[in-house]
């Protein structure tokens, strides 16, 4: 028999104690793994916002974090709307009816408007234009892909695109119709839009978004801004081939603008962005927020400390389990002394019996650790669907925090060895002659 075989026998000999020890270790490890993995998922959910193809969000004055959470993550409510005229300031002459460059046009490369407030069966409806999918990126910097159909065009007023999770959840396909509701799920039912494209999964909050042409969005009840007394609607373009008449510009508002800033001549991109942000924030029309900075602040101030706290608690659980190993081994060390004496009489060296005890602890730690690791992933897999729909990131049995998890088992082994050191030394010191005499 090898020393491993002997250690394994010793474990099986005290199956109940060993089993309970390994179980408590497994539960501790499962908690640690689940915490690590969900922490990692949450971090990824927020970090994925940094490759969306825009670096600034302009919205109504208020909390910049709320603006970011609402516009990027579809969390929390929109603050307020900003005026159409303000939005126009980011557009270049070619994109404006008056043919003059907007005030911020030079600092802007792309400006994508979004209008929020409607829902479709629990999912956020975002009114926007075709530039959203044509000009922005998936979060990892790559262009959007469609599993079916394609992006809506700006003159298809009632075209819509569904996020992957929405399409899967509601079983909708290209060609199907859907009618958003106003304000909330139980609000007034709007005119139906038609699904023209289904987004490939992005593992970002966009997966749970419903995107419609904002021209159609504007035509819904309650979406036109009431005109002040005496003001006449601005000139309206002639009806489209479809017969829809666009909403007059002075009755429009947008919730936010997703901006990709440009580089002013002779100025680095960062300074251009800073200057633009300062200029906007000093004005009265709205505020500019940098999503990456806001999210970093959120992570640093709130998510990471919380995660650390959770990790600390779970680490304590593991520590307690390790002490369990110690206690179970010390508890059996009287019984062990006799076994040790017999093995020594058979020619085992002190180092052999020391190793046997340590191997026993390591086997318990590795066994409990691996069981806990699997359990932790099953746990994440079990709550995965919930995370996926609520955070817009995939969470499954296979979600992992590779580095931390790779360190886990070596850490456990060290912990187990430390815990087993006392009983191992006791075994090392066993007085063979005394124990061989027996009690008689």
């Amino acid at each position: 028999m090898t020393l491993f075989g002997i250690a394994w026998r010793n474990i099986r000999q005290r199956l109940l104690t060993s089993g309970l020890t390994a179980l408590s270790l497994a539960l501790g490890v499962a908690l640690v793994v689940a915490t690590l993995v969900t922490g990692r998922i949450v971090n990824r959910a927020f970090e994925s916002g940094s490759g969306l193809g825009y670096n600034m969000i302009v919205g109504a004055k208020g909390s910049p974090l709320q603006l970011v959470l609402n516009s990027v993550y579809f969390i929390s409510k929109p603050i307020e709307n900003i005026s159409w005229a303000f939005y126009q300031e980011f557009l270049s002459a070619a994109a404006r009816p008056d043919g003059i460059d907007g005030r911020y046009a030079a600092s802007t490369r792309t400006a994508v408007p979004i209008c929020m407030g409607d829902y479709f069966r629990g999912h956020r409806v975002v009114g926007t234009n075709a530039a959203f999918f044509d000009r922005l990126t998936r979060g990892d910097g790559r262009p959007f892909e469609f599993t079916a159909g394609a992006n809506f065009t700006d003159d298809d007023f009632f075209g819509g695109v569904l996020g992957a999770a929405v399409a899967a959840h509601l079983g909708l396909r290209v060609g199907d119709s859907f009618a958003p509701t106003h304000g909330a799920d139980d609000g007034a039912v709007h005119d139906p839009f038609k699904v023209v494209g289904i987004l490939a999964r992005t593992d970002t909050p966009l997966d749970r978004g419903v995107f419609v042409n904002m021209e159609g969005f504007y035509l819904q009840d309650g979406h036109a801004k009431p005109l002040p007394d005496g003001e006449a609607p601005t000139a309206v373009a002639p009806p489209q081939a479809s017969g829809h008449v666009p909403l007059p510009f002075n009755q429009r508002e947008v919730t936010a603008i997703l901006l990709e800033t440009a580089s002013l001549p002779g100025l680095p991109a960062e300074l251009t962005a800073m200057g633009l942000r300062t200029a906007i924030n000093e004005g009265r029309d709205g505020q500019a927020a940098l999503p990456v900075a806001e999210i970093r602040q959120l992570l640093d101030l709130f998510v990471r400390p919380l995660e650390l706290l959770l990790l600390l608690v779970t680490a304590l659980v593991v520590l307690v389990s390790a002490i369990g190993i110690l206690v179970s081994m010390v508890g059996s060390s009287l019984e062990r002394s006799r076994d040790v004496a017999i093995m020594r009489a058979l020619g085992a060296r002190r180092s052999h019996v020391l190793a046997t005890v340590l191997i026993e602890a390591v086997l318990l730690a590795v066994g409990g650790g691996i069981a806990g690791w699997v359990l932790g992933h099953l746990l994440v897999g079990a709550i995965g669907p919930w995370i996926t729909t609520n955070a817009g990131v995939t969470a499954s049995v296979f979600s992992a925090a590779p580095l931390a998890e790779a360190l886990l088992v070596p850490f456990l082994v060290v912990l187990a060895v430390v815990a087993a050191l006392l009983p191992a030394i006791a075994a090392y010191r066993t007085d063979v002659a005394k124990w061989l005499q027996g009690p008689g």
């Binding site: 028999m1 090898t2 058979l346 085992a348 060296r349 002659a433 027996g438 008689g440």
Partner: protein, 237 residues
């Protein structure tokens, strides 16, 4: 030594003393010479406390004498460090005790295999099973000690003592906790097995009936000066 052709165990000028709880030094062994020839079978008698177990422990290398030479298989283990003595014990000696002989968590077969784990030859499952078959336990290989009678346990111990083809088997009162009917079986088994395996045998016993069966019988008091002194009626006034 003259006349001793091929001793497996040979002691020269061995002294061993213990420190009593009170602090005074109690000599237990003071032996000029003692030898066990290859294949020889010898019964060792002596009063309780005369140092029989201590002598066996010194031969086995579990204890180191305070002075003198202890040759086992030609090597003076009194000069060896503990790990080397452990190795010599694993390779050249088999031990049988009075009780608590077997590892309770291990099957009969595993108890024999464990003994093979510390010697220099690889554990051999077939030999382990054969040895158990030879002591009549071929049908009990996978039984734990608790599932065996005391007599059967002692037979496993005998098989285990022979696991590494030892040059000598040392048995410390192997029949003391067995009922009389089975005592004779264990003694016969020890003697037959050692003869078959070519191992010398040194058996400590209190029982004159047992000792009488051995071709050589020695009393520890006869060659251990420390025991003689302890047993002498002379007392300080």
């Amino acid at each position: 030594m003259a006349g001793m052709a091929n001793p497996v165990v040979e002691l020269r000028a061995v002294r061993k003393a213990f420190v009593a709880p009170g602090g005074e030094i109690v000599p237990v062994l003071d032996i000029d010479t003692f030898a066990l020839e290859a294949g020889e079978q010898c019964a060792l008698e002596g009063q309780s406390g005369s140092g029989k177990s201590t002598l066996l422990n010194v031969i086995a290398g579990i204890m180191r004498p305070d002075s003198g030479n202890v040759f086992v298989g030609g090597q003076d283990i009194a000069r060896f460090d503990e790990a080397s003595r452990d190795r010599v014990r694993a390779d050249t000696l088999g031990l049988v005790f009075q009780q608590f002989n077997l590892l309770p968590g291990f099957t009969a077969l595993e108890n024999v295999l464990v003994a093979m784990s510390f010697g220099s030859v690889r554990p051999d499952r077939t030999r382990a099973a054969d040895l158990l078959g030879a002591v009549g336990l071929g049908h009990r290989l996978d039984h734990k000690p608790a599932e065996l009678s005391i007599g059967q346990q002692q037979r496993v111990a005998v098989a285990r003592a022979l696991a590494n083809r030892p040059r000598a088997v040392l048995a410390d009162e192997p029949t003391a906790s067995i009922d009389t009917r089975h005592q004779q079986q264990v003694i016969d088994l020890l003697r037959d097995s050692c003869r078959t395996e070519g191992a010398a045998l040194l058996v400590v016993t209190h029982d004159p009936g047992v000792a009488g069966q051995f071709p050589r019988q020695v009393r520890l008091e006869d060659f251990n000066r420390a025991a003689r002194a302890a047993a002498s009626p002379a007392r300080p006034a």
